[in-house]
């Protein structure tokens, strides 16, 4: 009886938190301009991700650099390498997403 009640509560909690995670799906967008890579991180409703961790990986999945988004959800850095880059935003609480920046786009923005 007690176990089943705990299980039910647990299920409710998981359903609820799954819903929250979905409604708060985080996004990162990146573009290259003037030798720098600019990122902006946001929730679908337009709120910016403040203090989120941005990690930049090259095509061999090596971590190149790491930074924190400002109050406007922005984080910019000089081009670390001309390569296919994967930029990951981690807003905590399992809110994570990535953006692929193609080598050609990085090259074009040098």
């Amino acid at each position: 009886m007690k176990t089943s009640r705990i299980a039910a509560v647990f299920m409710l909690v998981s359903i609820f938190s799954a819903g929250v995670a979905l409604a708060h799906k985080v996004n990162l967008f990146a573009y290259v301009e003037g030798g720098k890579i600019h990122t902006e991180s946001y929730f679908p409703d337009g709120r910016m991700v403040e203090g989120g961790t941005v990690r930049v990986f090259d095509s061999t999945h090596t971590l190149l650099l790491e930074g924190t988004t400002d109050t406007g959800g922005l984080f910019s850095f000089p081009i670390p390498r001309v390569d296919d880059l994967t930029i990951v935003i981690d807003a905590g609480m399992g809110h994570k997403n990535s953006f692929q920046l193609k080598r050609t786009e990085v090259e074009a923005g040098k």
């Binding site: 996004n27 967008f29 679908p44 409703d45 337009g46």
Partner: protein, 268 residues
């Protein structure tokens, strides 16, 4: 007597001809190649700008629009120069008619509301000019912001339902504005675009009233309609302009339409 008879028959013939003119609804159309652009998609949206009978798949000749633009992040950009003429026609139409296409490169996340102000179209059958201010929204890269903002056209439909990511059967709710103010009890015509990409079966209306659906807005100009099939749906609210256009020395009425297009997909 003879004259009277022939006059009568002329009147009858005219009446018959008038009655025979089908009451097809004209729709301004702006249809993008996709309504949602994700990270994996090509970032160029191709748009087709037409003046059509959406269900009958009839084209009308369209001269170059007065204005074609996009609003993103509250900023409007003029894209009129990007329009290129193309020719098209419906399956039961002889001849080809001009419509317009444009490519647009999405560079940033957010909602892009494309809008068209066509050059007034002279419709002799109705003895008036038609100007349909037409809009469509394309969402890009996960940022769902901007779709509910009016563009500021003379008349326009502002969606109250997010206008993308819609399932077949969803209710679309919008508000009809004229000079920025709601139009109480506006009549809204709705048609399915039979030429929708991926339409698996062309809709053959069993009777004329099926061609154009009609709903009336409430006192705040708000209307709703549930879309029963996957594809593109056009919503058109018609009003009479408080200005006229001269046609062969006569002042003619101008029908101004607020048109909005949305796409639905089947749940599966």
């Amino acid at each position: 007597m003879q004259t009277c008879k022939s006059m009568l028959s002329t009147v009858a013939a005219t009446w018959l001809m008038l009655a025979a003119v089908p009451a097809f609804a004209h729709f301004g159309a702006v249809i993008p190649s996709d309504d949602i652009i994700t990270q994996a998609d090509a970032k160029t949206v191709t748009l087709e700008v037409k003046f059509i009978h959406p269900l009958e798949q009839h084209y009308m000749e369209m001269v170059k629009p007065k204005q074609f633009g996009v609003m993103h992040g509250g900023q409007k950009s003029d894209l009129t120069a990007a329009l290129k003429a193309a020719k098209g026609g419906g399956p039961d139409q002889t001849g080809k008619f001009t419509f317009w296409t444009a490519g647009y490169d999405i560079r940033r996340p957010g909602d892009y509301t494309f809008f068209v102000e066509p050059t007034p179209y002279w419709e002799p059958a109705e003895d008036l000019y038609i100007v349909h201010y037409t809009k469509v929204c394309v969402n890009a890269l996960g940022l769902e912001e901007g779709w509910d903002a009016p563009v500021g056209l003379e008349t326009e439909i502002v969606p109250l339902t997010r206008p993308y990511g819609l399932w077949t059967g969803n209710l679309f709710t919008g508000q009809v504005l004229l000079k920025g103010k709601p139009v109480p009890h506006a009549e809204v015509e709705i048609e399915y675009l039979n030429a929708s990409p991926g339409n698996i079966s062309v809709v053959l209306p069993p009777a004329d009233p099926y061609v154009t659906q009609v709903v009336k807005a409430d006192a705040d100009g708000i209307f709703s309609y549930a879309m029963p099939k996957a594809g593109w749906w056009g919503f058109s609210a018609l009003n009479e302009a408080d200005w006229t256009i001269d046609h062969e020395g006569m002042k003619k009425t101008v029908e101004i339409g607020a048109v909005y297009w949305v796409r639905t997909r089947d749940m599966r």
